[in-house]
């Protein structure tokens, strides 16, 4: 699974692509925790290129969300494709994680200091 990272003054955007299922959920969780360790203000998961996420993948985000909370970092989910948005809603994880229509909207709420850098990309 590919995942591009963008660093923005204390915050990060992670853009996983493809599918997260039982086969790669553990690797996805390790990736999230590694990236999270570098974030000081916020970690935004840009899901625009994510086609599918299974229950194990959702759990991986939940583990990262717990770690973020204990580390004082905000974690948000943004730009979900319609199918992924439906999976979040049916599983009720849309009530667990802050979800945003776009990365810009997520940063505006979670890490306003990073907005200027994001707009300059």
């Amino acid at each position: 699974m590919e995942a591009k990272q963008t660093r923005l003054s204390g915050s990060l955007i992670l853009r996983p692509a493809g599918r997260v299922d039982m086969g790669n959920a553990e690797a996805f969780k390790e990736l999230l925790l590694r990236v999270l360790a570098e974030a000081k203000t916020a970690l935004v998961l840009d899901l625009a290129e994510l086609e599918y996420i299974s229950s194990a993948g959702l759990r991986a985000i939940m583990i990262a969300s717990r770690a973020a909370k204990s580390g004082g970092v905000a974690l948000g989910v943004a730009a979900m494709q319609p199918v992924v948005a439906e999976i979040f809603a049916i599983s009720r994880f849309d009530l667990v994680f802050p979800c945003f229509a776009s990365c810009r909207e997520a940063l505006a709420r979670l890490a306003p200091d990073a907005l200027a850098g994001f707009d300059a990309l």
Binding site: K29, A56, I90, S91, R92, F93
Partner: protein, 319 residues
């Protein structure tokens, strides 16, 4: 095989309140206004065509009890929740009290909602009946005897007139019960529970309730997919949302509709029945979960379609 659901709620019975019944009537009257419903037949046809299941009926409130008709002369039930009372009245109406029958029961575990109907299981009071309580759970006999004793219940176990046998089963070992092949499997639940796969004439039904699935344990998930392999019907504990089951209700011993779909898709099962409904959910909520689960199956399908049903007291499924 024919599968009849007599009790489908989890944790404890959840009867409809007067207010809930009234709300259904008010809704139906408003929707039916102007449709010329001046006869019972017209009103019934309107209910069938224009009202949803949650509007015109109810998922029911009895706790777990499912009958699997294997086509033989003996009965086969899964669990003894409060729904078993309805079953026993139906069986008595069919046979009358003077024709002895054999009732086999597969008991998943001994939590109260799964055995609470036994004190009201009328065939147990009738001499000549044979009741065989099969379970992989080692504490079944103790729990049933304790339940039928003071101060919990006025009729002592020793006063029951039927012949009652406790038949221990080993997980993973197939047994011939009521003309079907039955295999048990250990499940993750407080004080353990067991699922049962029932096979007859090339058809299979899996009864798997009170079973939590750990999403970070692929081997455990794969083992359950194997247990469900190409099953014609999977009766699945979908009590919680996935988010609840994986977070605030982790280790509470139950699963979700999402994991039910995933496991059935892995197993190439044909029909998933959502079961052990959360007692705080009203009919509209359960219907909503049913619709969402059908949608989830549709958007995640990669092979043959998986039929999705939401169990209700009185549902009959031909397998």
């Amino acid at each position: 095989m024919k599968v009849t659901f007599w009790g489908t709620r989890g944790s404890l019975p959840a009867p409809l309140s007067a207010a809930a019944v009234r709300a259904k009537i008010v809704n139906a009257l408003v929707k039916g206004a102007g449709h010329g419903l001046d006869s019972a037949d017209k009103a019934a046809a309107f209910c069938d065509a224009q009202l949803s299941f949650a509007e015109a009926g109810t998922y029911g409130g009895n706790s777990s009890c499912v009958q699997v008709d294997t086509g033989g002369g003996e009965y086969l039930l899964c669990d003894l929740g409060s729904g078993v009372r309805e079953f026993s009245l139906s069986a008595l109406a069919r046979h009358g009290p003077s024709r002895p029958q054999t009732y086999n029961v597969l008991v998943s575990h001994v939590h109260w909602d799964h055995i609470m109907g036994f004190p009201f299981f009328v065939p147990a009071f009738i001499p000549g009946n044979r009741i065989r309580l099969h379970s992989c759970h080692p504490q079944l006999e103790r729990a049933i005897r304790n339940q039928n004793s003071a101060p919990c219940f006025p009729v002592e176990f020793s006063q029951l007139a039927a012949s009652i046998e406790f038949v221990p089963l080993e997980p993973g070992r197939p047994y011939e019960i009521a003309g079907a092949r039955v295999t048990g499997k250990l499940q993750l639940h407080g004080n353990d529970s067991y699922g049962y796969r029932i096979e007859k004439d090339g058809k299979s039904v899996v009864y798997t309730t009170d079973s939590e699935h750990k999403l970070d344990q692929p081997a455990e998930m794969a083992a359950f997919a194997e247990f469900f392999r190409q099953a014609d019907l999977v009766i699945f504990d979908s009590m919680y949302s996935l988010a609840d089951a994986a977070s605030v209700k982790e280790d509470w011993g139950h699963s979700s509709n999402v994991v039910g779909v995933e496991l059935c898709q892995m197993a190439q099962a044909r029909h998933l029945v959502l079961f052990h409904h959360e007692p705080i959910h009203d009919d509209a909520r359960i219907q909503g979960i049913h619709r969402e689960t059908m949608r989830l199956e549709q958007i995640t399908r990669s092979g043959a379609p998986l039929q999705i049903s939401a169990a209700y007291d009185g549902l009959i499924v031909d397998v």
